[in-house]
């Protein structure tokens, strides 16, 4: 397949405006400003079937259409570049190697929703990407692609880069807004939804980096072209897959939505890291989603196929684990992450994440009890659906799925105070 989103990343000096323009950059912006009204642009995106690449897969054009057409306050676009989901590193590639593509996407989307400013909220750890974007934004302003009266169209839009301070929760859209406003990154209750009252109470749309970089191509080539990629009608377009774990060639790969998981692992990724250690499990969408066993891996990587398989595409962070992986240790590490990153605002997530971590640590340390597996599932179920934001679900779902699908490994830890898997059986002190 022709590479679309990543077509520039291997070019020399791909992050410069000159290289981007030489490859036809900012032509989509020019075309949209000349030929399309904001509503026509929104309709085109709607028709393309583009769905949000940040994790939830909400149709982008529909999201845009929630924005008021005649707002009393300024409208804003936020580009969510706080890529923090474990196992996910696609936005980083885009920002470091093709920042102008993202900026063009930001500007087009801002035009569609009548935003007067686009805030790029970038993960604090992405220092290099931040520097690249700072330069790119300065170049875009200098060339008149951003700021006042863009390309003589009479439309103005500011680009503002904001560096986060390293909290996972600030990737959640409402926490991101609270953080951007200068407050502690706490998610907000919905309603009101961001399109009604978002950043500083103004109508706001939040899109992921990868979502936005699709927009210039749809403008350039049309919704029909986009519909021809992937699995129409609901899983269309190109997709970046972040492959990591026990595979020969981990990395970011571009392929249409609906790529078979086995094809990604065994063909694109070059197969399992060591031929004598077969596949045990795959987390298909970043650490927040339910795990798939090897037997469940005959599945296509798109929103609906994975939902049917009881998991999610999420941020397409595909983590591959071979048979030497201790599933108790793996989920203990994931649970530690969520206990550490839970913002502490609402009760079930604040208390439950820490509790799950403690129980898992105890099992892993050889002090597990027979009741602990049921207890973990009960805690997970008590968290799920009862929290302000999706972090609670993100912490609960993997725990529940690990315990359900690999219960025998947990039981082995409890019974033998030892681990069954791995290159050797690890014996515990206590």
């Amino acid at each position: 397949m022709e590479r679309i989103l990543t077509r520039n990343v291997e070019k020399r000096d791909s992050e410069t405006l000159a290289v981007y323009e030489a490859g036809g950059g900012y032509q989509a912006l020019l075309k949209a400003l000349r030929e399309l009204s904001p509503d026509q642009l929104t309709d085109e995106i709607k028709r393309s079937g583009l769905r949000g690449r940040g994790g939830a897969g909400f149709p982008t054009g529909v999201k845009w259409s929630f924005m008021p057409k005649d707002p009393k306050k300024p409208s804003y676009l936020i580009c969510n570049a706080d890529e923090s989901e474990p196992g996910t590193f696609k936005d980083r590639l885009l920002m470091e190697k093709d920042p102008h593509l993202m900026l063009e996407g930001c500007l087009l989307s801002s035009y569609a929703i009548r935003a007067s400013a686009c805030f790029v909220y970038i993960r604090g750890e992405y220092v290099h990407a931040t520097r690249v974007l700072e330069t790119a934004i300065a170049e875009a302003y200098a060339k008149g692609y951003a700021g006042r009266n863009i390309l003589g169209s009479g439309w103005s839009c500011e680009l503002v880069l904001h560096v986060g301070a390293g909290a996972y929760i600030c990737g959640e859209e409402t926490a991101l807004m609270t953080s951007l406003e200068g407050n502690r990154g706490y998610p907000r209750l919905k309603p009101p939804f961001p399109a009604q009252a978002g950043l500083w109470g103004c109508p706001t749309t939040i899109n992921n980096v990868e979502t936005l970089v699709n927009v210039p191509f749809i403008v350039e080539r049309g919704a029909d072209w986009f519909l021809g990629i992937g699995k129409a009608p609901k899983n269309t377009g190109p997709k970046l897959y972040c492959l990591s774990g026990h595979v020969k060639r981990p990395g970011v790969y571009e392929a249409p939505l609906g790529l078979p998981l086995r094809e990604l692992i065994y063909e694109i990724g070059g197969g399992m890291l060591r031929a004598d250690r077969p596949l045990k499990a795959v987390i298909p969408g970043g650490s927040s989603v339910p795990v798939l066993t090897a037997a469940e891996c005959d599945v296509d990587l798109d929103f609906d196929s994975l939902a049917a398989a009881g998991t999610m595409l999420g941020s397409a962070g595909i983590m591959v684990m071979d048979e030497t992986t201790c599933m108790v240790q793996a989920i203990e590490r994931i649970a530690h992450f969520y206990a550490h990153e839970s913002c502490g605002q609402c009760t079930p997530c604040r208390e439950g994440c820490g509790w799950m971590e403690k129980v898992l640590k105890r099992i892993e340390a050889g002090s597990g009890r027979n009741e602990d597996m049921d207890l973990l599932q009960s805690i997970a179920s008590n968290i799920q659906g009862n929290t302000i934001c999706p972090l609670g679900d993100a912490a609960a779902m993997p725990v529940a799925s690990f315990v359900t699908k690999f219960r025998d490994e947990f039981q082995y830890h409890v019974d033998h105070k030892a681990c069954l898997t791995g290159p050797r059986v690890r014996e515990f002190a206590g």
Partner: protein, 531 residues
């Protein structure tokens, strides 16, 4: 008015109300921690989860607006399970130190644990240990382990006082409330965060470890600290009666907390009012009748002395200075005495400190300044009497001291003292003009007798008797009528403050037609009663 069904029962709710408010209005309590009617919605405790028809997940009733045709279940299996789960989450890291916790007995964790918890803990892990005594400011201590992170205290400081001292620090289950270095919780209303705290995390330094709350006798009353007249509940200690065989009643005020009155103070009171009772305890009380230099005299003798001094004064030589915190009943009784004596120069003090702060505090500290104007007239001011003293016209002075703050009792400066030959002192404290008095009659302090006060908006409100007058002290109206009788003036024979009120209702225009029932515990602010 939207109609919705709650647990199968159709109810009408105010548009814009939340499901929780609609339920509370029906007398149905959906358990909640973070919701407070005086603060913004936080939605963080997740205790008020209910089932809403057609919603895939449970919704928090505190943040769900009522809508026509909505169907809510507050007691379904799913809701009960979720509630029990929340209770479990609240308690896993909670120290369960109820036996030494000041909140015990009025703790929402205790109440809801009994009502909605499972009664057993599945938590085997070590509990988090945090600091048990963080000094947040002059009045408030924090126990981090007991805190349930409901954010009520933070929202209070952000939204009501707009001082923003409090915030969350750390993340996840390590989240704690705190202040930033050098910026303690120090605002004029800081004590309210203690009342707001649904658990024992925030305690008032002045109340902590003083008594178990179930030993308190709680009486509704009105604060006499300023002209606002905030509605309060006064908690008087009763502990000694139960704990010892001595039979000695503790009978001191242990705390004062706000009592909701939308028309006056809403949900809050200021720290000054909350702690005004400390001055009642700290100052030396005048608790038995005295002649000069502390000589003890009997009541009858003291009354006779006072009456003789008043009667023997030359016509027009009697002056009187009264505290603006006296109840209207006291003021009315004294003014009746003065009317009978004739030609008494009457002045009420003006106590002004600070400024109106736009929240509750008033610069006018006279809790009954408006009552003074209604009963004694607009010309009854202290400077009038003082200048009459300076001119040598007034040589016999009756001082009725402050019933709340000894420092506010009128005192004579050296010049006035040289002019005034005789001082008759009536008061609760040995302060101010008491030292110059020829006879001293002990009167009841603010919390020791009932009556009415008129706030700056002309609202008539009731002060109630929270405990018995100290020592031999008697209500001011009673002392006035006894002195009047000894002077040979025929005042009505009042047996209670309520009877004084009845007399007053017949003669004072603004009080016309009122009785205690009409005043009620929330006061009356009838039109035409403007202050």
């Amino acid at each position: 008015m939207p109609k919705l069904t709650i647990d199968g029962k159709e109810v009408e709710a105010k548009a814009g109300n939340t499901v929780l408010q609609a339920a509370l209005a029906q007398g149905l309590e959906i358990p909640h921690y973070c919701y407070h009617p005086g603060l913004s919605i936080a939605g963080n405790c997740r205790m008020c989860l209910v089932e809403m028809e057609k919603a895939p997940k449970l919704v928090i009733s505190c943040a769900t607006e009522v809508a026509d045709g909505m169907a809510i279940a507050t007691d379904s299996e799913r809701v009960r399970t979720a509630r029990a789960a929340m209770m479990e989450f609240f308690l896993i890291n909670h120290p369960l130190d109820c036996p030494i916790c000041d909140q015990a007995g009025e703790c929402r964790l205790q109440d809801y644990a009994v009502e909605h918890g499972t009664g057993v803990s599945r938590f085997l892990e070590p509990k988090l240990t945090l600091s048990k005594a963080v000094d947040l400011g002059p009045h408030v201590m924090l126990d981090q382990e007991r805190c349930i992170q409901c954010s009520r205290c933070i929202r209070f400081c952000d939204e009501v006082t707009r001082t923003g001292e409090l915030g969350f620090f750390q993340r996840g289950d390590h989240t704690v409330i705190g202040t930033v270095p050098g910026k303690p919780l120090q605002n004029a209303y800081s004590g309210n965060v203690v009342d707001l705290c649904p658990v024992g995390a925030l305690t008032l330094k002045e109340f902590r470890f003083q008594t178990r709350v179930w030993y308190l006798k709680n009486t509704p009353s009105v604060c006499a600290g300023c002209a606002r007249g905030c509605n309060v509940i006064v908690g008087v200690g009763q502990q000694q009666v139960l704990m010892t065989t001595e039979g000695q009643l503790d009978d001191r005020i242990k705390r004062v907390v706000p009592r909701f009155n939308e028309a006056v103070n809403g949900h809050w009171i200021c720290d000054e009012g909350r702690l005004s009772y400390e001055r009642l305890h700290a100052a030396p009380r005048l608790d038995r009748p005295q002649a000069p230099r502390g000589t003890r005299v009997e009541w009858e003798d003291a009354v006779t002395r006072a009456a003789t001094l008043l009667r023997n004064a030359a016509p027009g030589a009697v002056g009187a200075i009264l505290s603006p915190r006296l109840t209207s009943e006291d003021l009315y009784a004294w003014s009746s005495l003065f009317a009978a004596l004739g030609a008494v120069r009457i002045g009420a003090q003006t106590i002004v400190r600070g400024e109106d702060d736009g929240i509750l505090l008033r610069a006018d500290k006279g809790a009954n300044s408006a009552g003074v104007r209604w009963i004694l007239g607009p010309d009854a001011t202290t400077p009038g009497v003082v200048s009459a003293i300076a001119r040598g016209e007034v040589t016999t002075l009756l001082v009725v001291g402050d019933p709340l703050d000894p420092a506010d009792t009128f005192s004579l400066d050296a010049a006035a003292r040289s002019r005034v030959k005789t001082v008759i002192f009536v008061g609760a404290f040995l302060s101010g003009a008491a030292e110059a008095a020829s006879v001293l009659l002990p009167s009841a302090a603010w919390s020791e007798e009932e009556g009415t006060l008129v706030n700056f908006e002309g609202r008539i409100q009731r002060v109630l008797r929270c405990h018995l007058p100290r020592g031999e002290a008697r209500p001011g109206w009673k002392i006035a009528s006894e002195v009047a009788a000894a002077c040979g003036a025929g005042l009505p024979h009042w047996a209670s403050a309520e009877e004084v009120l009845r007399s007053m209702a017949a003669t004072v225009k603004e009080y016309r037609g009122l009785d205690l029932q009409a005043v009620s515990l929330l006061g009356v602010g009838a039109p035409g009663r403007a202050a």
